[in-house]
């Protein structure tokens, strides 16, 4: 078989070597962080060191709450469970874990690029009482589109409401600065930055009143019961730090992505590349090939050893087309032909060429078919 080319880093990334070392080291400790004896105290130190690392990576204030969770999904759930009762506003392009967290979520409209319009958001905010929480993704997992978080925060705070930002896809790809963004809460996930699966975090300012989903044991300040995922937390701290330190690598990743897109447009000038005209993550490209279903494309790609995705991993396997694209007003016909490419620093020019060669073949077959018809 041909060499494998992995271009699905928004789904997950391999564990970084340094994070792996930290994971294994923590597994060897063999203590429960809540125990008071020697092994317990060593384990506690690992957890607290990682908490400090995460705080520094996103520049959260010293006073902020940093709560380790089992994943980004749980962090989002914890955020939306805060201070009851509260109005929750979120756009339809949000992750399923946000949209599914409650059944009374009010939808914020987005434009054709998937960006939140401040006008409609202002209208929504001025309607209800002041105890609202606006949950917004910093970067979309499918299109990579970046929201103007600072503008949103300014508006929302004017109404005395709070902002939760889901920064799961943004961390490690763009600068994520809790203080500069001015958000009230932020969700993170380790495995999207080369950390281990099974750990995430919610960061909240000291003023946010959180309510636990999992009770008992008193861990994480009583906000998240259960023995800490020691090795996961250790790996998360290391991976997040590296991801931040290596943020400059994203320039090269962006060059690869831009090269890929320009080549696609050379092959097929009228190709739709979603949200291409607005600020996006440097590593993500969501591309429609009219007339060829996403499934057909990803299967052909897989046969050639190229791993891409038809959308978010969470929703893949269910033959629904992208809810993100639907919210952007993209027709289902087009949405069903979309394929997501997401790169990382480990990808090379050669990887891009492999993708392009399969893409070109598929495109030409399709053109011949439609010409023959």
């Amino acid at each position: 078989m041909a060499r494998t080319v992995y271009l699905d880093h928004n789904a997950t990334s391999p564990l970084r070597d340094e994070a792996k070392a930290a994971v294994i080291q923590a597994m060897d400790l063999g203590g429960n962080p809540s125990s008071v004896h020697g092994p317990g105290r060593k384990a506690r130190r690992v957890v607290e060191d990682a908490r400090e690392q995460i705080r520094q990576v996103v520049n959260a204030p010293k006073s902020a709450q940093v709560i380790f969770t089992s994943c980004g999904t749980e962090a989002n759930t914890l955020a939306l469970n805060a201070v009851d009762p509260v109005r929750i506003l979120a756009s339809a392009t949000e992750h399923a874990s946000v949209l599914g967290a409650r059944d009374d979520i009010e939808s914020i409209p987005v434009d054709r690029n998937g960006k939140i319009d401040l006008g409609p958001l202002q209208t929504l905010l001025s309607k209800g009482d002041r105890h609202a929480l606006v949950s917004v993704m910093m970067a979309n997992n499918e299109t990579g589109v970046l929201q103007n978080i600072e503008d949103i925060v300014r508006l929302v705070h004017r109404f005395g409401a709070m902002v939760h930002v889901d920064a799961v896809q943004a961390l490690g790809k763009v600068d994520v600065d809790f203080l500069a963004l001015g958000v009230d809460m932020m969700s993170l996930s380790a495995h999207k930055v080369g950390g281990p699966l099974g750990v995430g975090a919610l960061i909240a300012t000291k003023d946010v009143k959180l309510a636990p989903i999992n009770r008992g044991g008193g861990q994480e300040g009583g906000l998240r019961g259960g023995t800490e995922n020691l090795s996961g937390i250790a790996g998360f701290g290391v991976a997040a730090q590296l991801a931040k330190a290596e943020l400059d690598d994203m320039k090269a990743v962006k060059a690869l992505r831009d090269h890929l897109e320009s080549k696609i447009l050379e092959i097929a000038p009228d190709t739709t590349i979603f949200a291409r005209d607005v600020e996006r993550l440097p590593n993500t490209s969501f591309i429609a090939m009219e007339g060829v279903s996403s499934e057909t494309q990803v299967m052909a790609m897989d046969l050639a050893g190229v791993c891409v995705s038809a959308g978010s991993a969470c929703a893949s396997g269910k033959s629904k087309s992208s809810a993100v694209l639907a919210a952007m007003g993209v027709s289902e016909t087009i949405a069903k032909t979309a394929v997501r490419v997401s790169l990382a620093h480990i990808n090379t020019n050669e990887d891009i060429e492999s993708f392009l060669s399969v893409w070109k073949d598929l495109y030409q077959q399709q053109s011949q078919k439609s010409n023959a018809a």
Binding site: T4, G30, N32, G38, T73, P196, R215, G217, S312, G317
Partner: protein, 410 residues
């Protein structure tokens, strides 16, 4: 290596109920899934995803085999605490408009008790059964507590502090006869004693990875399919785990957990027999060297890897300080930072003074006979030393009834 190398910085680990060291075989099984097989198990578009998904399903099979369930009945969670929360809140939310009574027990793990308290605030009635002096519930109390409003009975399989095994089969039968769901927190039991969800009529069972030589951050909830138990999820999202628990499954942790279950299924019998011998050696050794010690909880209906002993006339903190080369606990890890006496021991009717001087000794897979002898030596030496310094011990030896002393108030 001689046993004398244990130090404060490198203590002899005897706290297997707090957590267990991860078995090397488990770490080996996990390793490929960190790097070369790193796929997201929910990626359905390429072989990295399929490979990860296959590994997850094999692990699910191993977990289910260990408890006599079908793989489809195993829902992975982040640990037993989440499983307990999901079982109780999930069932309560789904069936709450029909039945609103929950029965549990005063010696349950904090996460069950706190979840029940939260449900009380939501309008549920909760009966907290008392336990007998040996730590076991009275089955007649259970029968008497069940009403036509009773939705679920939650009784832990093995207590985390005193290691006693509740009569699961009998509880299961009572629940089934009364058409009440039976949930058991089996975090301390799975992989230690034989459990069979069919034979025991268990409807929901919480399992922890790190209490059975697997990794931290992973556990499972068994949810019976026939007759079906339904629940409202705590975490919504991508709809993983049959919609009962969303979030990307952590493949390496799941694989490690599965491996731990596979090992336990094979080795549990021999391991239990070995630990039973150690348990006896430890208890007898301590009894021989230290007069007036008390075992908390039943000795017979108890996992072999646990002893919980109170030493009278010794101050608990002082004892712990004196044996820093032993990694032991005075109670559960979750409450060990507080100086409160154990609520579990109090529930057994242990006097406060004795509850303050208890040690939980947890033995496990990597405990050796030398370790046992070392622990006997160290504990007995320290207890006897502290007693020599104790005026109360002197008086007791002289025949004074300590309880008759009227202490001056100050």
């Amino acid at each position: 290596m001689t046993a004398t190398h244990w130090t404060q910085n490198n203590p002899l680990y005897l706290d297997y109920q707090a957590t267990t060291p991860t078995d090397k075989r488990v770490v080996e099984a996990m390793a490929p899934y960190w790097t070369e097989k790193f796929g997201n198990p929910h990626s359905r578009n390429h072989h990295f995803g399929w490979e990860a998904e296959d590994a997850v399903e094999i692990a699910r099979e191993h977990v289910s085999q260990l408890i006599g369930a079908s793989p489809k009945e195993v829902i992975f969670t982040s640990g037993a605490t989440e499983a307990n929360n999901l079982a109780l809140k999930g069932v309560a939310k789904f069936y709450g408009d029909k039945k609103n009574h929950i029965i549990t027990c005063v010696t349950e793990h904090k996460c069950v008790l706190e979840t029940c308290r939260a449900l009380q605030q939501d309008g549920f009635d909760v009966t907290y059964l008392h336990v007998k002096e040996n730590g076991l519930i009275d089955l007649d109390d259970l029968k008497a507590a069940i009403t036509d409003k009773t939705l679920i009975v939650s009784i832990m399989a093995v207590n985390n502090e005193i290691g006693v095994i509740q009569p699961l089969k009998e509880i299961g039968q009572i629940c089934r006869d009364n058409k009440v769901f039976f949930h058991t927190d089996a975090a301390q039991a799975v992989g230690k004693i034989t459990l069979d969800v069919e034979d025991m009529n268990i409807d929901l069972m919480s399992i922890s990875g790190h209490k059975m030589y697997g990794p931290m951050g992973i556990g499972a909830l068994f949810v019976r399919r026939r007759p079906r138990v339904r629940l409202v999820p705590l975490i919504h999202g991508g709809g993983q785990e049959r919609g009962m628990r969303s979030g990307t499954l952590p493949t390496p942790l799941v694989v490690g957990f599965g491996k731990a279950c596979e090992i336990a299924l094979k080795e549990m019998g021999a391991e239990a027999a070995r630990l039973r011998g150690f348990q006896e050696r430890l208890f007898e050794g301590l009894k021989e060297r230290i007069p007036e010690i008390y075992l908390n909880g039943d000795l017979e209906s108890r996992i072999p890897g646990n002893l919980n002993i109170s030493f009278s006339y010794v101050e608990g903190e002082g004892l712990m300080m004196g044996i820093k080369d032993l990694g032991v606990s005075s109670g559960s890890a979750c409450t060990s930072a507080s100086l409160e006496p154990s609520y579990v021991l109090r529930a057994l009717g242990v006097e406060e003074e004795l509850a303050h001087t208890s040690l939980r000794l947890g033995l496990g897979r990597f405990t050796t006979e030398d370790d046992i002898d070392y622990a006997i030596e160290r504990i007995s030496k320290e207890v006897n030393r502290l007693r020599e310094l104790s005026p109360l011990w002197d008086m007791a030896q002289a025949g004074v009834d300590i309880k008759s002393i009227k202490w001056a108030e100050h």
